[in-house]
């Protein structure tokens, strides 16, 4: 299959204009001994063949009867309008809105996205999104180091371990001290935080709900940070914000998070989006694209990329980050999702996820030999302790077509018998009854 339109006559005429006899002559700048010998890729195929091949390959991914795997990445229902509207080619085949006159669609959508992120998180300003929740958190930490001129980061171990790995990669070549505190059992280690936050601290990093699904209030930590001249960074699960206290209300300075659950399919790890929202005073240290409102030369309200002087294409090595674009289409999907749910649907969905998780906890922890570990209200996810190793429980249920969650032993010492389990609004009472029955039969 080829997507080039040139006929033989086109090529001949074009070469005449250029003034060379053959296309090959256009490659004369490449010395002959640098030419490639060829690929081992084989011949091209028709659309029908490729689609058939990939359908077959997709078929090798076996369906599950029930999936309770979460860990920061969730299977929520996506309204059809999200796919249909994000599937408009005027959105998905455009590029970064450098020319505002022919990009007002993308620009206004990003402005509306930024507004939505500010509103759900309770913050003043948002960027146009970054790659994912982990890079958002890493960029948030680098930002806090720039703002404070300090380099010690105090991070809760119940922040998603995947993010903590990514942060270590991002900070790999920086002069930075990463102090990991807690968890105290599965509870927040207040003592660890208060002992570690001091005059040398750039930021404390927390997550709500934390990796174990526990809902916390971090107001005391942010107050401690403020006293020490440090910032508070909160990674938050956006869907919980329909119900739970916002990071803004808890006094966070920088809020980040994974936006996947807002209208983006799991898609085996991406593409997703990371959102970043901060207090207004830090906007000039915020990395990534930002859209602002202005007027055109006739006084008409419109939108442009703004504060570009922070960015790599102008500042080069002095830029706030090397990041070039945002995850525009994923951010559009997040906006579409939030619009479709609306004020009421967003709250209802958050309430359902809260309710279902706490219901599941009651029903499942009632089984003999199963214990609820969080000991506090949970959102979406919760930790159960089993008599057996969680790996064994997981494998047994997998044989019955159920992926029951994430055994925690691989991530935390002493948690070999614990499993992190997730329910979303796509599940109901019947699914939880079925799971209970399967667990009882083990």
């Amino acid at each position: 299959m080829k997507y080039t339109p040139h006929t033989r006559i086109d090529i001949e005429d074009m070469l005449k204009t250029i003034g060379v006899p053959a296309v090959e002559d256009l490659f004369r700048d490449i010395p002959a001994d640098m030419r490639a010998a060829g690929y081992g890729l084989g011949a091209g195929k028709s659309e029908y063949e490729v689609l058939g091949h990939l359908k077959h390959t997709a078929g090798r991914n076996r369906p599950l009867r029930l999936n309770l795997t979460g860990g920061g990445f969730y299977d929520h229902y996506i309204p059809s309008a999200v796919d249909r509207l994000a599937g408009r080619a005027e959105f998905y085949t455009a590029y970064t809105p450098y020319q505002p006159e022919c990009s007002q669609g993308t620009l206004q959508a990003i402005f509306e996205y930024q507004t939505a992120i500010c509103r759900i998180t309770g913050m003043d300003v948002s960027n146009a999104s970054v790659y994912d929740g982990g890079t958002a958190l890493a960029e948030g930490i680098l930002m806090a180091m720039r703002v404070t001129g300090r380099n010690k980061i105090v991070i809760d171990k119940s922040v998603n371990p995947i993010y903590r790995d990514m942060i270590r990669t991002y900070l790999g070549s920086q002069e930075c001290e990463l102090a990991e505190v807690g968890p105290d059992g599965l509870a927040l280690d207040m003592k660890g935080f208060s002992e570690n936050i001091g005059r040398d601290t750039a930021a404390a990093v927390v997550q709500n709900p934390n990796f174990f699904g526990t809902i916390n209030d971090y107001s005391e930590i942010s107050a401690g940070c403020r006293k020490a001249g440090a910032l508070t960074i909160c990674s938050v699960y956006p869907l919980s914000l329909g119900l739970l206290r916002t990071p803004g209300e808890m006094g966070a300075d920088i809020v980040t998070g994974e936006g996947q659950s807002l209208g983006n399919p799991l898609s085996f790890g991406g593409p997703y989006l990371g959102f970043m929202a901060v207090k207004r005073e830090y906007i000039r240290q915020l990395p990534g694209r930002i859209v602002g409102e202005t007027v055109d030369r006739n006084g008409k309200k419109c939108y442009v990329l703004t504060l570009q002087a922070r960015e790599q294409h102008i500042k080069r090595h002095r830029a706030t980050s090397n990041i070039c674009t945002n995850q525009s289409l994923c951010a559009l999907r997040a906006l579409l999702y939030l619009s479709c749910l609306g004020e009421k649907g967003f709250r209802d969905t958050a309430v359902r996820n809260y309710t279902l998780a706490n219901y599941a906890v009651r029903v499942l922890s009632d089984i003999e030999g199963v214990e609820f570990v969080n000991g506090k209200p949970v959102f979406n996810e919760f930790v159960l302790r089993f008599k057996d190793k969680a790996d064994v429980v997981y494998s047994k249920l997998l044989a019955r077509g159920i992926s029951a969650g994430i055994p925690l032993g691989g991530y935390y010492k002493g948690m070999d018998d614990m499993m992190l389990m997730c329910v979303t609004e796509k599940l109901g009472k019947d699914d939880i009854s079925m799971l209970r029955k399967e667990l009882e039969e083990l």
Binding site: V50, T57, L85, T96, Q99, F111, P271, D296, L329, E343
Partner: protein, 483 residues
């Protein structure tokens, strides 16, 4: 008239969403855990939302609607089948944790196979030995490459401090180097439009960790000295980094690994036809020579003896994780399908036609605009509006006039080393008629600059808005709706 925002259209009590009935009630946590007021999300019907966003979409120029010769961005046509492939249920609903859970990799063999085969194909195309698909964009691929460079030098005990980039480079190159803590040395472009080899020879020394180059460079020129440059770099144990942004020019013609490069990143959203999405998502896989493989981010997809695919964790040498899982899978899948569709001959045809189209544009316009480096180009050409600027017409005015004529403008004012730069990358999927039409408008613009410069300075007049006040946007910062 101003276009209303979603929030301004909101009507209290309106809604277009319903959950299944659950029959479950649970007590809420205490008030210290609950948000104190409403979110302020819009209240609209589904039709309200569909009209709103359909209306917004119509304000965009896009590849599907317009010629989009944005230099250095490779805005080629994105085959529709790619959208179908990535939305296959068997792929789009897969949870990325599964292959990391006991025994569950069995449930995602199809997805892992796609990733494995794409790693192999990209190594073949770049002439490299090992690949990571993790980086989520070209700039993140660069960051991964520079982090690997730092890890390599740490292992060897090399005291390296600097990274060399040509002055024509993309802004992300020096920015990525700076993020890893390197000082950046910029080498000038010579009169042929290549990095000045003599100046490079003076600047290269024991402290240089890497030389980051795009080849062909942002002027669309292939550097014939590249082997000499890489020999000099390697003689002081500096790594050669290939910024693959311009790979579309040399598909099937040159493998960066054959001409002295050690690390390559690719922009799949450019060369391999995955849509740009209005500014992302992209994908920036990195391929390296064998001696750097152990530094690649982890995990990479491996095949065991039994033929099963799984994520293989690297050892302590790996720089760690750039992404939560295996990269932007949905994007990677599209690139894989594109490679299958085109095959070897098709990929070779891509660079043939991309280079043919760029030279054809250059041929049509060379008498009407200044050509700062007057020689055959590769996939893009850089003109200058310096002659027009003497009449008070700037590259930006020409760009705005092109919008009136239905074209997305080329990249302007980049590369930074060309005064009044107009950087045109037509890509291979555009027809001769489209290019002819575009060239006629560019020639008209050059004529208007002489006779009626006001027309250009007033452009655009056909769009809903014209020439936003960007200074005001940055001064009176308003980045969210506060009504």
């Amino acid at each position: 008239m101003n276009r209303e925002l979603l929030y301004e259209k909101s009507i209290e009590g309106r809604s277009g969403y319903a959950l299944p009935v659950s029959g479950i009630q649970e007590e809420f946590p205490g008030p210290e855990y609950l948000r104190s007021g409403p979110c302020g999300l819009p209240e609209l019907s589904e039709l309200d939302i569909v009209r709103h966003f359909t209306g917004l979409s119509r304000l965009n120029y896009s590849v599907d609607g317009n010629f989009y010769p944005l230099g250095s961005c490779t805005m080629k046509y994105n085959p529709k089948i790619l959208e179908d492939v990535s939305s296959l249920d068997g792929f789009s609903r897969l949870h990325p944790m599964l292959p990391l859970l006991p025994g569950a990799a069995e449930y995602v063999q199809g997805a892992l196979e796609v990733l494995y085969r794409l790693q192999e194909a990209l190594c073949d195309i770049t002439g490299m030995d090992a690949a990571t698909l993790q980086p989520l964009a070209g700039a993140q691929g660069e960051l991964a490459g520079i982090l690997m460079t730092a890890a390599y030098h740490r292992m060897k005990g090399n005291a390296k401090k600097t990274v060399i980039v040509p002055d024509a480079s993309h802004g992300t190159n020096p920015a990525s180097a700076a993020m890893v803590g390197y000082d950046v040395i910029t080498v000038a472009t010579d009169s042929r439009g290549q990095m000045d080899t003599a100046e490079f020879a003076e600047r290269i020394n024991d402290e240089v960790a890497a030389v980051v180059m795009t080849c062909p460079n942002t002027l669309g020129i292939f550097n014939a000295d590249i082997r000499k440059i890489s020999r000099m770099a390697h003689s002081v144990d500096a790594l050669m980094y290939y910024d693959g942004a311009n790979m579309n020019a040399i598909l099937g013609k040159v493998k960066p690994g054959d001409i002295g490069f050690d690390i390559v990143h690719l922009n799949l959203h450019k060369t391999f036809a995955t849509p740009h999405g209005g500014g992302g998502p992209g994908a920036g896989p990195v391929c390296v020579k064998d001696f750097l493989a152990k530094f690649l981010p982890s995990p990479r997809i491996v095949r065991d003896r039994g033929g099963s695919y799984m994520p293989g964790e690297g050892d302590a040498s790996s720089i760690g994780k750039m992404a939560p899982f295996y990269g932007n899978f949905g994007v990677l899948l599209k690139a894989y399908a594109y490679i299958l569709l085109l095959g070897e001959e098709g990929l070779n045809d891509v660079s043939d036609k991309a280079v043919l189209n760029a030279n054809y544009i250059l041929g049509l316009l060379r008498d009407h605009y200044e050509v700062p480096y007057d020689r055959k180009c590769m996939h893009e050409c850089v003109l200058s509006a310096a002659r027009q600027s003497e009449k008070g017409v700037h590259a930006l005015d020409i760009a705005k006039y092109l919008i009136d004529m239905g074209f997305h403008p080329p990249t302007v004012y980049f590369p930074l080393i060309v005064k009044e730069a107009i950087m045109i990358e037509p890509t291979e999927t555009e027809s001769r008629e489209t290019i002819d039409r575009f060239a006629r408008v560019m020639i008209d613009a050059a004529g208007l600059a002489e006779k009626e410069p006001g027309v250009l300075r007033n452009a655009p007049v056909t769009t809903r808005i014209s020439r936003p006040d960007e200074v005001r946007a940055a001064r009176d910062l308003n980045v969210r709706y506060t009504g």
